[in-house]
Symmetry: C2
Subunit: 271 residues, 2 copies
């Protein structure tokens, strides 16, 4: 009997006798006061990808973190809003009792060969195995489910109030700590596997959390499969921090300088 | 009696006797085969902002264009998914008979004074009145509801197949053709008031359309009010075009170099 990868264990969904699709929060992907948002994204995407009505591969997702997911069981309810010749639009809710802590929308599509162009260029960086992983053992549990090899903009939490701000841009090799082939679920999760830009820039810890996450998938199934267990290069930057909210935009680069996914999120910060 | 601005006429919602919130498509904001996506975004946001349960100002929106909105009447159904101390999460559907051509999610928040930082810088450009507006009179109707003053990357649709690609980045002053003070609705609409990047890059017309749009609002009410009727500077760029889909990311700049909003979208293109 093979052991399930921690990521698959944490994103597992089972059909209960009453028809409900249920999952359970996982200690290995726990953040401060709820699950790592990326694992929640993966769980909601799994509900769509494993639905018998699913057609095509993911093109876009938006996850809205409306409230904390409490430790324990939850139900995931996927709904096909509309399916056309090319695209499918799904709306998904994660429910705990009468609360809906997370909503999501997904666009899937049957993609075909078309004109191709990639104006964006992957940063010129040393290979992942030439970079030391960040020691995250004393941080939130989910961080230890990944390896973070910062090429630029590692988080440094020792800034004093009158020091100049730190750079908010990060370039970082990312991979599951226990090797696992990249799939749609882990790519979705990786798109949230960045530290808040406000933490990088200010160099101080404070209350903060993602309120909404959007990811666009540029790769199709073959490119995803070609990635295998190789690390993905993440780039994250932010444009403005104002009155409790900041934006963050990211890129995830794969083998041969292919841009696998791009996206953005808004984070709340307290003060 | 004052005449309603065409934008307000086009985004108007009325409460029917049966309680339904209804609107009607507008010729002034018509695109190829349905309404301009920005006016649909504005209509769905209006349903939230005019709801008695609404608290705070918009922080984020995602609009999913699942199918064509047909000419005529539609119903808008806003639902408060969750309201907390700081944020509200709304889910909105636009319905025509038994079809749901558009879904949306909005995050609103009561923002407070916090640490401020804007790493992004507004491009150095000539003032709007020094730039000639694009002649859009022979194009889709909605384009004539705006003025487009391209500083860089104007669309040029005369490229031949072996010519080098055109730049896909645009910098453009944007305003309502009939002057109107900027508000949340028009800012939401402007975040979709860009030509597809694939059209800019290839310099040819082809079948294409937005499938999902996400906008993050950085301004609060006072900054929005300070903008008045002044044009907004739009910047749009794209990172990858692959197998029927491209991304586009945008910035909307206001007075004094303030970043009012940022966002992204995915467009489908045929071949």
């Amino acid at each position: 009997m093979t052991q399930r990868h921690p990521f698959d264990e944490a994103s597992r969904l089972e059909r209960r006798d009453d028809g409900a699709l249920v999952g359970r929060t996982s200690p290995a992907y726990w953040n401060f006061a709820g699950p790592f948002g990326g694992i929640t994204a993966a769980i909601m995407l799994r509900a769509v990808l494993e639905d018998p009505a699913r057609q095509g591969t993911p093109v876009a997702m938006t996850i809205n973190f409306a409230g904390l997911v409490a430790e324990g069981e939850f139900e995931v309810v996927p709904r096909l809003v509309r399916g056309g010749r090319i695209t499918q639009h799904w709306a998904v809710e994660l429910r705990q009792a009468d609360r809906v802590p997370t909503t999501a929308s997904f666009v899937l599509a049957r993609r075909t060969e078309t004109w191709e162009h990639q104006p964006a260029a992957m940063p010129d960086v040393p290979p992942a195995d030439a970079v030391e992983p960040l020691d995250t053992t004393r941080w939130m549990p989910w961080l230890s489910s990944y390896q973070f090899r910062f090429v630029a903009g590692a988080p440094v939490l020792s800034r004093r109030i009158h020091d100049p701000l730190h750079p908010q841009r990060s370039v970082v090799w990312l991979n599951d700590r226990v090797p696992r082939k990249l799939d749609w679920l882990s790519l979705a999760a990786l798109s949230d596997a960045f530290f808040p830009r406000v933490l990088h820039a200010r160099g101080i810890g404070a209350k903060m959390g993602t309120v909404t996450l959007t990811t666009y998938f540029h790769c199709d199934q073959d490119e995803l499969d070609a990635q295998g267990e190789a690390p993905v290069l993440g780039v994250a930057d932010g444009e403005r921090y104002s009155r409790n909210f900041q934006d963050q935009r990211i890129q995830l680069w794969g083998r041969d300088g292919r841009l696998l996914a791009v996206g953005g999120q808004v984070l709340w910060y307290e003060s």
